[in-house]
């Protein structure tokens, strides 16, 4: 096009000779073909066919079209075991040393259960039946209370992790934004750190940190905070780069330095999306705090793993329900905060 204009001495060609390219051409078709081939190849490695078969069977069995399915049976047994949710706390009285029967702790009661045991009498070679009465101290919401308090701890881990992420990503974003970084070296270093933090799975970071800081919350929120900084640092920086340049130029023209321009011309533009990212990280930290507990980094995950390992699936069910409710409530709250900011 350019050459054409130059050749005709600045006189553009008549419109009848113009050419407006079609939105798709053979290149687009080739790209689709390549992607389809790649997906087919990968689909075989990932056993997508088997996944669809088994899922199909399970669905068919579920709606009564088929007798039974392998997946359905396995999952069904597991899910069935989660019910009923356990909310009470039950402890054998014999194991509690200093209990005053006349002054039980609040809300608790004592329950007696008859336990029948069978054993072989070595003398008579007869199987004998023995009835034993075991007493339990029962707190009707004891376990629920414990899970809730663990959830509060988990939420605290998530909050501190988020605070750490935000504090770390502010400088990372400044140095990692092309238009504010003082030099190329700082830019590359910052982007490198951000990619590194994001690429390290928090579970692995948590495992390392548990070695250093011991079991508990510290390893948990540090791991989540570092990983989250890898996410926020990237997104904060990209928003700074994409912010409208015109007001920035206006303040530069008044003699304001980089930091002041950032504060007065960029921050008001990016604030709503920053809040959205940060709330997303908080939400993610709540969910991930439950997972990293698995490696002993505190919170509800530690409890979850303990119960799972001892096959107490009713307890597991309660924990999962509480996590779900927390995430749901948090989602509602953050939706409201966002709506207010954007409106």
């Amino acid at each position: 096009m350019r050459e054409a204009i130059l050749q005709t001495g600045g006189h553009p060609r008549p419109a009848s000779e113009w050419h407006l390219r079609a939105p798709y051409d053979w290149r687009a078709a080739l790209a689709v073909l390549l992607i389809a081939t790649a997906l087919f190849w990968s689909g075989q490695r990932m056993e997508v066919g088997k996944m669809l078969n088994l899922t199909g069977e399970a669905v068919a069995a579920g709606v009564g079209l088929k007798d039974e399915s392998q997946v359905g049976k396995g999952l069904g047994r597991m899910i069935g075991a989660l019910f009923p949710f356990v909310i009470e706390d039950r402890r054998e009285l014999a194991r509690i040393t200093d209990l005053d029967r006349d002054a039980l702790p609040m809300f608790t009661r004592i329950e007696a259960t008859e336990v029948t045991t069978y054993h072989l009498n070595a003398d008579t070679l007869q199987v004998e039946q023995q009835v034993e009465v075991k007493e339990y101290l029962v707190h009707p919401f004891g376990y629920l209370t414990k899970v809730l308090s663990k959830m509060v701890e988990t939420f605290e881990i998530a909050i501190w992790a988020t605070i750490i992420s935000v504090l770390l990503s502010i400088p990372l974003a400044f140095f990692g934004a092309r238009n504010y970084t003082p030099n190329r070296f700082a830019y590359s270093a910052s982007r490198g750190v951000v990619s590194f933090l994001r690429s390290m799975p928090e579970l692995i970071i948590a495992m390392f940190l548990v070695l250093g800081f011991g079991f508990g919350a510290i390893a948990g929120y540090l791991a989540l905070g570092l990983h989250g900084a890898g996410f926020l640092g990237k997104f904060y920086a990209e928003d700074i780069e994409a912010a409208d340049r015109k007001p920035q130029e206006a303040l530069t023209a008044l003699g304001a330095g980089k930091l002041r321009v950032l504060r007065a011309a960029v921050l008001p533009q990016v604030a709503p999306s920053y809040v959205a990212y940060t709330l997303y990280i908080l939400d993610r930290n709540v969910r991930m705090a439950a997972v990293i507990g698995l490696v002993g980094a505190g919170g509800i995950g530690q409890e979850l793993k303990g119960r799972y390992d001892t096959f107490e699936y009713g307890h597991v069910g309660t924990i999962l329900l509480v996590i779900f409710l927390t995430v749901f409530v948090l989602d509602q709250v953050s939706a409201r905060v966002r709506a207010r900011l954007i409106g």
Binding site: L251, A253, G255, A256, R260, A265, A271, P272
Partner: protein, 275 residues
């Protein structure tokens, strides 16, 4: 320093007639070889309302942006009072010079008040700028300038994006007036406004500048507005000054020369004119 400059500007210094802005043989060649300024020399007196005219691409924006260093010179010298523009004096000069932009350049999400306050972002203490906690005198001053540009109290908390173009440019002018600059640069400040509003906004800019004793360098495309408002007209063509004088001298012939390029004076005759 700023206070002294403001005082000087307000009271006059007894140096009227001395150039406030002076351009000596300014040359700007962009990376692609375009000479946007090709030997511009001119002087603007203190308190003058100087309009720069010229066809598109003649270098008006470039000339204005040279004054506050948004565009750096290839060669030549720009002086503001006794200070020559250099990398060292850049910050200081920028704080004495305000700019009104064609696209308004407001933070659209922020309130009118916040946009006007941002005009002082380079003046207040660092911690105040960072917290966005400006001193009470400045907030009073914001109300003053917002009223001066013809806006109302109800506009203060409104988002800039929710104003009309004319109102947004008033905010832009209020921001420029806030810290009582010595020089106001206005690059086609009314290009996106209708004729009636354009006249109002330009009148406002001229009166407000006059009250504060500020020198104005304003580029325009409307020759009728230039004749009406200018104390002085500089006509540019292809990076050169081809007209420089009182609006009364800017007749139809001068206008045709400027826009259609009839009888462009050669660089030599121009040099003689300034010798």
């Amino acid at each position: 320093m700023a206070a002294a400059a403001i005082l000087q500007a307000a009271l006059g210094t007894g140096r009227e007639g001395q150039p406030h802005l002076s351009f000596r043989d300014l040359r700007k060649v962009y990376a692609d070889g375009v000479a946007a300024l090709d030997g511009v020399s001119a002087h603007v007196a203190r308190g003058e309302f100087c309009v720069v005219l010229g066809p598109s691409g003649s270098g008006k924006s470039t000339l204005l942006r040279v004054v506050n260093g948004l565009t750096d010179l290839t060669s030549g010298q720009m002086m503001l009072g006794d200070t020559a523009l250099s990398p060292k004096s850049l910050r200081g000069i920028r704080r004495r010079v305000a700019m009104v932009h064609q696209q308004f350049n407001l933070v659209e999400r922020a309130s009118v008040a916040a946009n006007v306050l941002a005009g002082a972002v380079a003046e207040v203490a660092g911690w105040r700028a960072m917290l966005g906690w400006y001193p009470p005198e400045l907030r009073t001053r914001v109300c003053e300038v917002v009223a001066r540009v013809g806006l109302d109290e109800i506009h203060l908390p409104r988002r800039a994006a929710a104003l009309s173009g004319g109102q947004q440019q008033r905010v832009g002018i209020a921001r420029a007036l806030l810290v009582r600059p010595e020089v106001i640069l206005a690059d086609e400040p009314v290009a996106s406004l209708d004729p009636a509003i354009s006249r109002e906004v330009l009148g406002l800019l001229r009166e407000a500048a006059r009250e504060q004793g500020a020198t104005v360098l304003c580029s325009l495309h409307q020759t009728d507005l230039a004749r009406e408002f200018a104390d002085r007209i500089i006509g540019m063509r292809k990076g050169r000054v081809v007209f420089d004088g009182k609006p009364a001298l800017f007749d139809d012939r001068a206008e045709a020369e400027l826009y259609e390029g009839l009888a462009v004076p050669s660089p030599e005759t121009k040099e003689k004119a300034y010798a």
